[in-house]
Symmetry: C2
Subunit: 436 residues, 2 copies
Amino acid sequence: MRTTVAKFGGTSLADAGQFRKIKEIVRQDPDRRILVVSAPGKRFPEDMKVTDLLERCYEAAAAGQDFSADLDRVRERYREIVEGLSLDFPLEEEIEKLRRHLSEKPEKAYTESRGEYLNARIMADYLGFTFVDPAWCVCFDRDGTPDDMMTRRAMQAALRPLRQAVVAGFYGADADGVIHTFSRGGSDVTGSLAACAVQADLYENWTDVSGLLAADPRIVEMPKRVEYMSYRELRTLSYMGASVLHTDAVLPAADMGIPINIRNTDDPDNPGTMIVRKLPKGQKKYPVIGVAGRKGMSVIQVEKVMVSDGSGFSAIMLDILKNRQLPFEQCLTGIDSITLVIRDDLLESCKEDLLEEIRETLHPDFLGVKENLSMIAVVGEKGTESSDANVMVLQALTRAGIEISTINQGAGKLNLLIGVPEEHYEDAVRAVYSTI
Amino acid sequence: MRTTVAKFGGTSLADAGQFRKIKEIVRQDPDRRILVVSAPGKRFPEDMKVTDLLERCYEAAAAGQDFSADLDRVRERYREIVEGLSLDFPLEEEIEKLRRHLSEKPEKAYTESRGEYLNARIMADYLGFTFVDPAWCVCFDRDGTPDDMMTRRAMQAALRPLRQAVVAGFYGADADGVIHTFSRGGSDVTGSLAACAVQADLYENWTDVSGLLAADPRIVEMPKRVEYMSYRELRTLSYMGASVLHTDAVLPAADMGIPINIRNTDDPDNPGTMIVRKLPKGQKKYPVIGVAGRKGMSVIQVEKVMVSDGSGFSAIMLDILKNRQLPFEQCLTGIDSITLVIRDDLLESCKEDLLEEIRETLHPDFLGVKENLSMIAVVGEKGTESSDANVMVLQALTRAGIEISTINQGAGKLNLLIGVPEEHYEDAVRAVYSTI
């Protein structure tokens, strides 16, 4: 028996109509045995997510204020779903329970988690699957740190005996039963952990886009979809700020080599993007699969004759940053020079101090800072065609009249990082995209 | 009164005919008031340099063996010069003095320094200039370390009052008058120090080539001469192993912004290569002035998700190298990866230990070593045209079918460092040269 863990995001669960789409998606493939669900998301741009409504309820309750209007809105969201699907679900009872909790001793994580909890229970009823409360099997320490190893054991215990199950995303509990939520990645992390626990053949992540795009659609008009990409390529895109699965949600699946498929609930025939360790045979490996980038970067340029003479100059430089707990994005050492790429916002408050320390410690021949740069990542686990791809990318940037400051490709050839002035960021992304 | 300090190398002083050429060169420009001379070099490929003969005399004398045959060869070299120039020079007296020194308590530095000493005295007689013995004004500590500050003061004191002088290169003395020699750069360093001491308008370095070439002539047939280059570009070429002025000989002049002109004694009409801080007005700035490189490189590739999260991963990596006193040529950190370029010969003996330490300390997701790489430096203080130049270079390499592993251009844009397989090194140099 093959197993697909299918995680559905908030917009995929925003109303009864969306629930029906999911039922059809599940019906089409019996491997989809384990579902992980978010809370109802926005139905239209101005709408509020149920989790945000719940947070408002908590804030008001904690301040001793009236929260009933927001709780009523929560109830209405679920009533539309339950009635739309003609389910016999004890909604009033659940809402009443939450009202009592809020009136007595409100807890933030518990309150916020009720969106997923209710959605999962309703979905389980609707599909005839077993409801699995992550309070039983997604394990946190008392200080709120997720315990991945324990979660794997507990999730195995909870899910293995079940043929079909719906798990609520986003939360879990500690040994005392106190609810905690994931700070980052939310239900995506739950989905990834569930996929690992049951050693799924596939982890589907159903959302409102048909996979990942090769560039930011706010910059490039109608960018193409990426069909296949590697975990490492995804990580690069994520690092560069593309809104994709959070690293915490990718790593568990990546560790076990479980393919991740990004799908669109509103366009279920679209195969979306498949994130894999290795391409299936016969699938062409593209040297460049996408382009992403970040603005707000500074470059610190330190020059000193004979930097590379083994005096540990670069090591001292990096120790200065480490002692200041100042992270850097890139470090390039060459002949007599070190170039550091640091985020503007991190550098801002300590810039003068840092430069002074570098001056006093290292006595550089030249020390300069250039602000308002952006870093472009040309993403692709490039094979033998990497050189061609690099030429095309640099040529496109040059033709677009964009000044290139730094160029960085490590031996892994996973990405080519190029520094360009911030005001040319969008042009640079478009230029690189034109080569894909 | 303008001052040119002219340093002449060994082949420029190999015999009487060469001395005559120098007299003509000095006659043509009265600014050439301070000369720095080496010992007589080779007259033909199988010939021995006088300094090497002197070293053999010392080795034999120190071992209590007969050194007279080699000392006779030294005498013959100078006799040819003195008689060829019809000078009344007390050669026998000087040789006798050296013989006594060797027979009594031979000192290596003193013995080796006599080549320059005699040449400078002969040249001073021949030109009617004042002989300046660097034992008076090139200052060393007793442990043999050059004292640049004291040398500047002493050289000023020695040279400023003189209208015309010949200084012997290569050596100096400590406070006790004990002779010491420069370990690196030899007479070039003396020339540079003299130029600084008299605040020369120009430092000419006369040798047997008409300036610096844009590529290694053993790889590229008849490479063009570089007309102008910056100190920093020279330093890059030097670092990459091109046989040019040693850094120790460039730095003092560079510090004072004294232009260095590499000239050819056998082709005095050729303007050679001018090394400057800034190009003279109207002079075109070439984005790439030359290409050089080094074989025998290894690349260590360390990958770990979230390297760049501020955990100091790279700093720890460089500390490992620093503690092992293992110098590295380049370090490139990107997203989740560190690439280190290290010389094969340095890595060889400690490779397994180092990898083990990296594994145990950093627990990387991937750790790999690639040997037998070469690093190509595309040298040029590139301005706005840098991108064009980079495209052309990468394109040329790609067309030549050369696989590129690493690409590194820091914010200074002084050079583009490219890693290519060692077996393609020569092809890569030719490909890059074709773009210049």
